[in-house]
Symmetry: D2
Subunit: 370 residues, 4 copies
């Protein structure tokens, strides 16, 4: 029997349940879970703030595991392969894109080239039910259905290092890519959670001239500084006017060339527009749930500024693949694992969830083997 954490309903205590070991379909893969992250989304799930969640679910959408078993391979098409086309091997350490079932046939997939808006997308640990199997990461084993996009971790990337970025890394990688940072740009990152911290690192890996992190609390700002931020501004002890003045002072009065929002607070959006220079670019990636409205001045904050704003939703397999390559390549420079505040066994998942919800930790992992 396989143990897994089950979130039975919003606000209900998490349970550890026993599951049968699944029969594998052709092309399916069984992973022995090494670790799975706990992120803000899990807290949102627990509070019932996301629509369309088929409780009970096994949470955990970004995970790393070791290939334990491969489904029967009849036809060539049925061989489970990684994203580069190599057949998977038992014993390999891999991660996978949590989004599964992007159809490749709908208007968004084909004409729109906007696969993160495909209506067929299902997400491991979020929109797949525990009634349908081991489809979430807080579990001893994860079942990868045929067609799940698998990315192997290179030898030089420890699985803990990868999970230290967690879903924050591909999310930030998508946002920073949309930011089109030019060499030497001043980049402001709003928010110092996992997405914000990853964005602050990735901005340096685009050759930013200066990276300013606006956020809190202190434990997170300290992490930002350790990971190379040139300046941090504590959201708890400053007014919007003071923050605007600080950014302008650092940019000869112009404002940030590129601003990345990763906060979740609606009011951060108009503030971010103002922190950005005329003809600059602003990426909004942190408004993951509906937390209310915001007010801005279309003339001053957008049109006269000649400002570009890009909403950024979801990640695709390319973002995960690229995150893996970047984390493997720049691990000497950025000690990823320092972002992990604490690891929890399956039976401590409830504590993990509460610590994340309370922002007591930067990054928390579920490690079933503990």
């Amino acid at each position: 029997m396989i143990s897994a954490v089950v979130m039975t309903a919003p606000d209900a205590p998490l349970e550890v349940r026993a599951f049968e070991r699944p029969e594998l379909e052709p092309g399916g893969v069984l992973l022995r879970t090494l670790g799975s992250e706990v992120c803000g989304t899990d807290a949102h799930l627990w509070k019932g703030q996301l629509a369309g969640v088929p409780y009970p679910i096994i949470p955990g959408h970004v995970s790393v595991g070791q290939v334990a078993e491969l489904g029967p391979a009849g036809a060539t098409a049925d061989v489970a392969r990684d994203v580069s086309g190599a057949p998977l091997q038992v014993g390999q350490i891999v991660t996978f894109l949590d989004v599964y079932g992007t159809c490749g046939r709908c208007w968004y997939c084909t004409v729109g080239h906007a696969t993160t808006r495909c209506p067929s997308r299902k997400v491991y640990g979020v929109t797949l039910s525990a009634d349908d199997g081991l489809l979430g990461g807080w579990s001893e084993y994860i079942y990868l259905r045929p067609g799940v996009h698998v990315v192997p971790l290179p030898a030089e990337l420890d699985w803990r290092a990868f999970l230290a970025g967690g879903c924050g890394m591909p999310t930030a990688l998508h946002a920073v890519t949309l930011g089109e940072i030019a060499f030497g740009d001043t980049v402001v990152v709003q928010g110092a959670g996992p997405v914000g911290l990853c964005a602050a690192v990735l901005a340096q890996l685009r050759g930013a001239g200066s990276v300013i992190v606006v956020g809190g609390p202190e434990v997170r700002l300290d992490a930002a500084t350790r990971f190379g931020a040139d300046a941090v501004i504590d959201i708890g002890s400053t007014t919007p006017q003071e923050r605007l003045a600080a950014v302008r002072d650092a940019t000869q009065g112009r404002g940030a060339d590129v601003t990345i929002e990763a906060t979740g607070a609606p009011g951060a959006v108009p503030e971010g527009m103002r922190l950005t220079r005329d003809a600059g670019r602003y990426v909004v990636v942190g408004q993951y749930t509906d937390a209310g409205d915001a007010t801005f001045n279309p003339h001053l904050d957008l049109n006269q500024k000649h400002l570009e704003i890009r909403g950024c939703w979801g990640s695709d397999v390319g973002h995960v693949y690229r995150s893996v390559q970047v984390m493997a390549r720049y691990g000497r420079q950025f000690p990823w694992t320092e972002l992990i505040s604490r690891e929890y066994g399956l039976d401590s998942a409830q504590a993990a969830l509460e610590d994340v919800a309370a922002q007591r930790v930067v990054k928390a992992l579920i490690v079933p083997a503990r």
Copy 2:
């Protein structure tokens, strides 16, 4: 003596004053005015809604004239040339970029490549004083200082046809360029004034699959239809919900691929965000003055939508040059001069201004020779 219309102060009646014929500097050009447009900006100027205007001014920022006299050409550098480098000739019919004095040296001009945000910009008919000379178009003659960017009209482009677009054409051309319309896209244009009508035409010249104009009043929507709009939606007789439903119906439920805002009403901006499909693009060009705030939902209207928004400010000489080429090339298809509702002599400028402010006309011209 040369007659010119002078706006002495906000809300004061326009006057026709006599000016001396100017002495030309090397590289300067004296144009005999054929026509000059009256646009919404002139109404804003008269109502005192723009900051930094050095009244008294001679209004008229987009104009066409015939080269009447060329300044003394000593050094080669002093020869007045058009934008393609050809020396200007007396008798040529030309227009010019109203923006003058973009410095080419500041951070925005050099590093930022955002010349429409250069702080040295001066604008004929707007930010140049009548005390300094014939620096506006509602005048028998216009003095082009050395360095003004001059664009000749090709033989096949009648000067009236060019002025029928007026400043709306380069403004719309800038906005539609930022819209990055793909072949077959559905384009919604908010606003049916000169900018909106030009945008509706230019969308067709990007191969849009369908162009929907949302605006009013009826006289302008009729013009939109005559100029090829596939559908018009009257802002006066519909609710935002009805407009959203109409656009979704026309796009299999998705919304517009690209939306261009050209209204001036702050509330149009959140509405335009909603009219645009997920992963679509929204260009805001009509918020030319501060008309107040707007409220939106950062999660629903921006982040989850994966929406791109681009504020679009000003035009550069490339936009004017390209407008001239496009209007000359596609004049058989689009009968530009039909956009001109009425022509006024210098002594009727007051009436022209009032007609434009009241939206009684689509496009009004000042024609000094009348």
Copy 3:
């Protein structure tokens, strides 16, 4: 029994063979063929110039048909749908992307976002064998396997009009999209075959200021003129130097802003580099088979010119979808069906092939009902 043209081997005479009506899989579609184009690729196939062709094949890769039968629909996923997600209906008139089986899982499909380089692609009428069924268009019926991308023709787009563009239209649409034509640009198109003619039309639907077609023979240049080309240059009666001089004369000495190559002749490529202005853009789409090498000067033709060159391979379903929208929308302006020189029945396919190979026709169609 169903009649279809079979190309049994390179250089062998075409045969008309009888096939059984197929059993439909869930999600499969049987089309009654209205028409199928004959294009240069078919001539290449017949001459054995393409690698990896599983003769015998039924030629015909771009076709239009009427839905005659739909496969059994068990699960929702098995319902045959068009590209916008609407279930297909018997009687509908549709086209489809000839490329089938793009995997959506390989590196090129996911990380590279270059689906036209997916190694799993199969092409109706080219890389699918007649032994496997009715997988080409020169046939009374075409069998669409589950997953083929289907695009309905709107009521205002006659099927003959769509086939008049044939595969040349999505190919040209892809190339012109990569050309990033700006309003008013001078565009040179090298080649006056179907791709070149479509590119000349599409350049006008990007607002080109001038379109110059370089090619031959006269029948094709006449078509270019009728479809709006501002100038044509006969490749048969001019030297490269004369062509360069002509293009420079038309552009104040600069050269074309954007050049589109659609010739198939290797020597056209260095010539096209020279026809393009400094800092211009050159799209190479016509080098569909290996016709030998070309020589150029990297300093003069590329580096000092600050030239951008884009190879353009294949089309995806978005290009077909957009072609359909554009042809439907701009049919009054461009009388597509005039491009059709002749229609042939199945038993005249051999004559059609020879006429295309000899460039005696602009566009030839196979119409089984003739």
Copy 4:
């Protein structure tokens, strides 16, 4: 009197001549030279391989100096300012863009937005004559005419560190920017001279997953490794086939995502096309002089590959400004000054030139105070 090195004619020995201290115009600046680089262009100048050079010249196009004197400032417009608009101060340490006199008015400057193709450009140390003053860097003092673009060095960027990059850094920055490297990309750099080494560094500052330098001799490849290249391939001991195999082995058979050419050898260009993956991008920046033709296969190397090639010519002030910001920010990570092989006094300029021409040094500086 001021000493400066003069190149009187191609192949003639360099001379040190005495010049009068110049009278400064309003807006002019006199710099006391701290150092000036010796680069491949200087060797080309000496061999007479560049057209349009007004010998005698004072060589030295990228230099750093201390502001010694400012011209008389009458009008506000005459105050010498840096690129951010701040008035220059005596004693400041600055560099400047060698290109001077970009007109801001021609078609390339205005419509084409391709200022590096402006025909009015003059270049310090290259196309300005010693007869007209101290207009090159191998001199005790340099005279900056009004309008020269000046970029101050921040306190944390030592002048030697900046010159260690020299003109190679903005050139590489331009090329790498055009390369549009995505996170995790494999980047091949052809050439291990100053441009190639800077490109290899900058690729890391775009988050490349792997950087492979193809070049020689060993001293330069060693520098590449010290500056972070993941692999080097010695051009002297490998065949093109071996190099292609090595790059494919490192990329699961695909080839480089982005390749940057910085060699000057025409044959490198077709090789670079082949080293790049399908749908990849290739930037050609090293073909600075006409060294002959190259041959390629348009079908295999360009069209079927769906390859994008970008010629990259010159730098603008933004590239210099951004180089300064990047070198200042990432100096701890990249010990720039290690690239300097040797410093020479004015009277050893001849030896410097010969060492550079013979590739005996990575980077050589002229330091007048030595």
